[in-house]
Assembly symmetry: C2
């Protein structure tokens, strides 16, 4: 029964990177294309993104966000208006030089992000305090010409949402920046079952053009960090560069204060690397495209397929499928496991007679016999239990792989031998950050909102410490 | 009360094109950008697209469609694989020549449509009859370097969905082509309240690379036609060009048969031009981002805003807003009319006392007094009535502007003096089509599925007629 007819994948312990690639391909999430760094999101992969979109979009709208769509292409002169921003992005954009049969007078880049377009738009669309705030978001794809690429984690094109807001005051902009970070953190924990650390990026790591960047950082199964969402406060820097002004109630001209915030298909990579195991993907129920797979055993025997269909019908409101293909049960089991479907219900001729099914949890492998009539009540509860257990398991893993380093020796020893987050004190100087990165490969992930005083001196230079920081090697 | 504080728009009779542009801008659907032919879809415009997407996507999924996402960029060599296709699209694509700081070895075009990408993908993904059918769709934007551009109707970038399917047999492909055309026609009539003519495109007008193209054609208020959705049967032409083959049950290698079908943001232009009037947009309730606008009168008087909020709350399940801005009632009325919100509910202090509201239909201007307690029952019914009435009104207009021309004189006279569809007989020769277009500006819109025998000879050349055709000047 338990035979594996799906080709085996590399084990996580043996080679985590290869395991990841194997899962991405065998779970049928993506297909490679003939252009490096561009991938096809296949139905199983895109369906996860659709559920992520649906959940995030609902949460956005509850906070007053409105969706818009801005152009794909940015004139070079527009990209260059904000100095830090163009320095950050110009080296990695794709340039359109010809439209139809003629050369363009000005090159257009494929948007790597849309701050400049939103500023240009807001400059035209905002005149009075009555026009504020603008709380807009768009769902689209962006292109960044990365050298090294990996499915979901770093690709030349990816799907995302980018929120861009304009406010009358600095306080309101800061409030929105934090509000959206909280939406992201809550979404990750409640929907993706991924616990995150909330904090602020260092000067070195912040977004090109931002006054401050906030981030949520998650820990993958291999102990590496993944930046999972960011929210930026731009102050009035972009507004000054683009002349985005409004007249206030006293009829004075003021610059707006702006924010932006984004989440991407990278989250699918996070789901894989936080929850997956040696049998493949393990999907949190709330974003599982299929939540329950009913597998009929000896399906040609009378009554089996009918019973399977009736079970599926009785679970209305859930995402349920019946695997009626002519594959062997063992193959079907392995396939359902590879795709990470949270619950499998097995039903054979004897089960039909006994009015029962075998119920198998994907996350723990636990099996139990359930009466068919109990399913409409038990299965939704079980999905909730799985969702909670997956979050707790991920949190326990994260906590067990979060270390404290008070000295440089402790720091280097931990980086080398105990992959995970390292909490350490920092003087606040970019020089120390750069030295740590050069010598250990670990970067400052964030200065967490929840600060602790672990020591009085910087773990690197020994000067007085200003902040506790989460360090880690990262994707 | 009825004073118009929203700037007046050009009347339809005076200048239909200017009226259209005025509505698009004053109803706040789009914003122009600094790149010609690229526009911003503002919240009011994008919200319509979201509702269209939601409704269409649901209908697609009911027929077994799965969503995917394919890359934005197509290598030049891939675009060139199918001869007719490249001839059709190469003159109007945008070319990416540089990625990051270096020139690309091969130019990449921004997808104008994704047949070539889907073929490349299917060639890798399909091996056996077990892999068929593939019934995939993607929601994305495409770029076509049009010379003349108009908001929604013809822009250099637009949003759309493109379905691409692969089947084992020619019959199955043809069946899917027609099935999706029917989904489109039903969607237009039931959701957009736009009646359409279903039929086949002539050889001259069919899609580059297709064996046959089917279309739905709608008639705008000014008597011009608008192609509103197309569905193409490719036969095995693309499959042969790209080598998309499968082994059948007898283990023989076969080419797949393919289809594609698409609808775009152009539909928003159709809604405007079919239903709009001199006060602005008139939205069919099923795609109206706001279905009911509650307008409080003398809103500072005690109880008015509370009553307005209670009314909105009592209409849960509908898309309702309360206009609490400090604008005058007249201004609010004009704004609600400009945006085409189907129902306006006015409530002032005396109405609160009497437990009633004034209910105004946007489509007819009809006013009636309704008791507040009846609203949860009456308003949903009224929205359904409006939806039906709008379809019937559009159908009556279309039928009243559909003419028959049996002779060349009748044909030219009708084109010049009675804008609308012209039904006429045709010999089937491209030469006649071209002559008619050159002399009158009218094109073959389609050979309708419902054929009639109006005469025995071609309206142009007098040779024996083969088909009845809908002719018309078109957008």
């Amino acid at each position: 029964m338990a035979e594996k007819k799906v080709e085996a994948i590399t084990s996580m312990e043996e080679d985590f990177a290869q395991w990841y690639t194997d899962v991405v391909l065998k779970a049928d999430l993506i297909g490679y294309t003939s252009v490096k760094g561009f991938m096809v999101l296949k139905p199983a992969g895109y369906a996860i993104w659709e559920l992520i979109q649906h959940e995030l979009d609902r949460r956005f709208k509850e906070t007053g966000v409105e969706n818009v769509y801005l152009p794909l292409l940015i004139p070079e002169s527009l990209l260059q208006k904000e100095k830090d921003h163009v320095e950050g992005f110009a080296p990695e954009v794709a340039w359109v030089t010809h439209g139809g049969l003629s050369e363009l007078q000005e090159r257009l880049c494929v948007r790597p992000t849309s701050e400049t377009l939103f500023c240009d738009f807001y400059q035209k669309d905002i005149t009075s305090y009555r026009d504020l705030p603008k709380v807009y978001n768009q769902w689209c794809s962006v292109v960044r010409w990365e050298k090294e690429t990996r499915p979901f984690l770093r690709s030349r094109e990816f799907l995302w949402q980018e929120g861009h807001t304009a406010h009358a005051t600095a306080e309101e902009a800061e409030e929105r920046t934090i509000q959206m970070l909280n939406v992201y953190a809550d979404f990750c924990e409640q929907v993706l079952a991924i616990p995150v650390i909330k904090g602020q990026k260092s000067e070195k790591e912040k977004f090109a053009g931002a006054v401050s960047t906030y981030t949520i950082e998650a820990l993958m199964h291999d102990g590496k960090a993944l930046q999972s969402g960011t929210s930026h406060n731009f102050g009035d820097g972009f507004a000054r560069a683009f002349g985005v002004q409004y007249t206030d109630k006293e009829n004075k001209l003021q610059y707006v204060h702006q924010t932006s915030w984004g989440m991407t298909t990278r989250l699918i990579g996070a789901i894989i690397m936080v929850h997956g195991d040696d049998n493949g993907l393990v999907m949190p129920p709330r974003v599982a495209p299929t939540q329950v797979m009913v597998v009929p055993i000896q399906q040609k025997k009378e009554g089996v397929l009918d019973a399977a269909d009736q079970i599926a019908a009785s679970l209305s409101g859930l995402r349920v499928k019946v695997d009626k293909t002519d594959k062997s049960p063992g193959f079907k089991f392995a396939e359902q496991e590879m795709r990470g479907i949270p619950i499998r219900l097995e039903i054979g001729p004897r089960d039909v007679e006994a009015g029962q099914v075998i119920c198998v949890r994907r996350d723990t492998g636990e099996k139990e016999t359930l009466s068919i009539e109990s399913l409409p009540e038990v299965i939704p509860q079980l999905l909730e239990t799985i969702q909670k257990d997956m979050l707790e398991k991920a949190r326990a893993h994260r906590d067990a792989h979060t270390y404290v380093a008070k000295t440089w020796d402790e720091f280097t020893d931990t980086v080398e031998n105990r992959p995970g987050f390292i909490k350490a004190m920092w003087c606040g100087e970019t020089a120390c950050e750069e030295k740590i990165k050069e010598l250990t490969g670990a970067t400052t992930r964030c200065m967490p909102f929840k600060q602790e005083n672990l020591a009085d001196t910087c773990v690197c230079c020994g000067k007085p410490a200003k902040k506790m920081v989460y360090f880690g090697r990262a994707y």
